[in-house]
Subunit: 328 residues, 2 copies
């Protein structure tokens, strides 16, 4: 729905822009920016020249702001998120990354029985094109306080909810345009270079690249020979069907739609979650290596420390805790 508004906005923008041009002569190509003369004889009156110059500069700026729809695939980023002390901080820096990426649509899925005001307000002010969803993790699958983070995979239901929404939403967008796009699963604590998004934008089926600081390694990566992925550099069970981190691949929207049952299996053994989706979509020899044949690290599996609240708790006992009305 949001994407419809977005397209509508671009369409309106385009319409208004060309309305403004009206029937005036356009001379963008030959007429260089400001101060130089255009060879064209049709508009040598001062006002015509002023119009032409202004149009040109406007065109240049508009071009930068709104790259033509047809040339850029939308990147749908599915991010599971859950309430915790660092949540707003993490979402803040992630949104700042995404704001630099043209034609990005953020699907943020809360692990919660309802949409929280913190996330709702945050998204509203973010300046991003987004869809806000929520689904709670089933109780038996939820990590308990004190569990090690690897015990149960986190974000499974939320990523699947993002896929469900995409499949539902794209039904209403017939034809080629509605199916063009790339799907990426971006956790809210990782670090993403801007180049990563331009690498994944051309994904045909499933594209892959190295991920830094993951799995007890400096990086894990597909190993590429002759342009093909031939094996994986990983510190653990390289025999898994797709021994890759969630941050290390993107899937074309077309492939997601063509395989309506492909999803993440929350019951998959540890380390097999990524494989549970990918094995329903692609074979290893079809993988498309990006990031200079998988020789560049463009994404890092960073983890943020859980802040200690010892002094806060001590002060709360005395009735002197931080004002709960202040959102952190």
């Amino acid at each position: 729905m949001f994407i419809i508004f977005y397209y509508t906005y671009i369409e309106i923008g385009k319409h208004l822009y060309f309305s403004a041009l009206g029937t005036n002569h356009r001379c963008f190509q030959g007429d260089s920016l400001w101060g130089q003369h255009c060879d064209c004889a049709e508009h040598d009156l001062p006002k015509d020249r002023a119009i032409s110059r202004l149009q040109e500069e406007l065109y240049r700026l508009q071009e930068k702001k709104q790259p033509p729809k047809s040339s850029l695939s939308t990147i749908f980023v599915i991010t599971p998120t859950y309430a915790r002390l660092v949540q707003k901080a993490e979402l803040t820096r992630l949104s700042q990354t995404f704001l630099h990426v043209p034609q990005l649509h953020w699907i943020l899925v809360e692990d919660s029985p309802r949409k929280t005001p913190l996330v709702s307000n945050f998204l509203m002010k973010s300046g991003l094109t987004y869809t806000h969803l929520n689904v709670p993790t089933a109780k038996e699958r939820k990590l308990q306080e004190g569990d090690p983070s690897w015990l149960k995979p986190r974000g499974v239901e939320q990523r699947n909810e993002g896929l469900r929404w995409l499949r539902e939403d794209r039904k209403t967008e017939p034809g080629d345009n509605g199916q063009q796009g790339v799907v990426y699963f971006a956790d809210d604590d990782n670090t993403y270079s801007l180049q990563l998004f331009e690498e994944m934008r051309s994904t045909q089926r499933v594209s892959v690249w190295p991920v830094g600081l993951v799995g007890g390694m400096k990086f894990e990566s597909p190993v590429v020979e002759g342009g093909k992925v031939v094996r994986f550099h990983t510190g653990w069970r390289p025999s898994r069907p797709f021994p890759m981190d969630m941050a290390g691949f993107a899937v074309s929207l077309r492939l997601v739609l063509a395989n309506p049952d492909a999803c993440f299996d929350g019951e998959a053994p540890m380390g097999f979650l990524e494989s549970s989706l990918l094995k329903g979509l692609v074979t290893a020899d079809e993988l498309e290596p990006k990031a200079d044949n998988c020789t560049k690290v463009l994404v890092w599996h960073t983890r943020t420390e859980k802040p200690k609240m010892k002094r806060e708790e001590a002060l709360q006992v005395q009735g002197l805790g931080s004002d709960p009305a202040v959102e952190v």
Copy 2:
């Protein structure tokens, strides 16, 4: 030097923009964007209307892109950084934040006897206005492997080197313009909202605001009554002269220049580092509260986990470690 290029760019932009306006009547305020009529009787000819509309839209876009120099103080951000596994990741997301902030000059100071290729290359490609410095921490002041992070303050020499550079550089910028600016100390692992920078831009002497997730608290903050800072909400030694985190204040460049000896004291007791600078610059009752009278958290003291390298080390023993030629 970089800042000169930047100013020149804005000057050229402004010149070109006003050249384009020429002698035409300007009617930005009353004439609403596209499609509605302007009340002004001076330009009811179609071409005049077209010019007015184009100018207005152009003005709007240019305003966004290039705020006029006079209205914006430069924010000089001094960031100490040191080589570690997550360094490039941290600098990457920090640079993405800064790229959104107009008129920001990043002074990045490496804790190193020489400038490293990683940081040099990173800055070169960052798209930011920057100054790259380096100074190694004296051996006796350096944290050793396994020391708790609070044992010795980190980044002292580096922040002082940033101040030294500013004082030296501003000498060559005579007059009011060279002294206008704001100095902020931004560590490379914190999280900064974009609004924070607009809050600090108007700093007259020293401005202050809350910091989230710091000192074992949900947030620490100056407490404001009647527009004045009257005390501090903190979990530890509120009697310190300035019980604030490094991320919680900014200083006007003028004040830094007027007090050439003010700097951070690496021998200050734990928790007194911020005070060691501020007590040479300002009194507590002169502090300027920002962020809605210190009721909004716009910066978070996030800390990134040190990645475990157990599998990497095991593989390296077998000669199967990650390719050291790949920069992480």
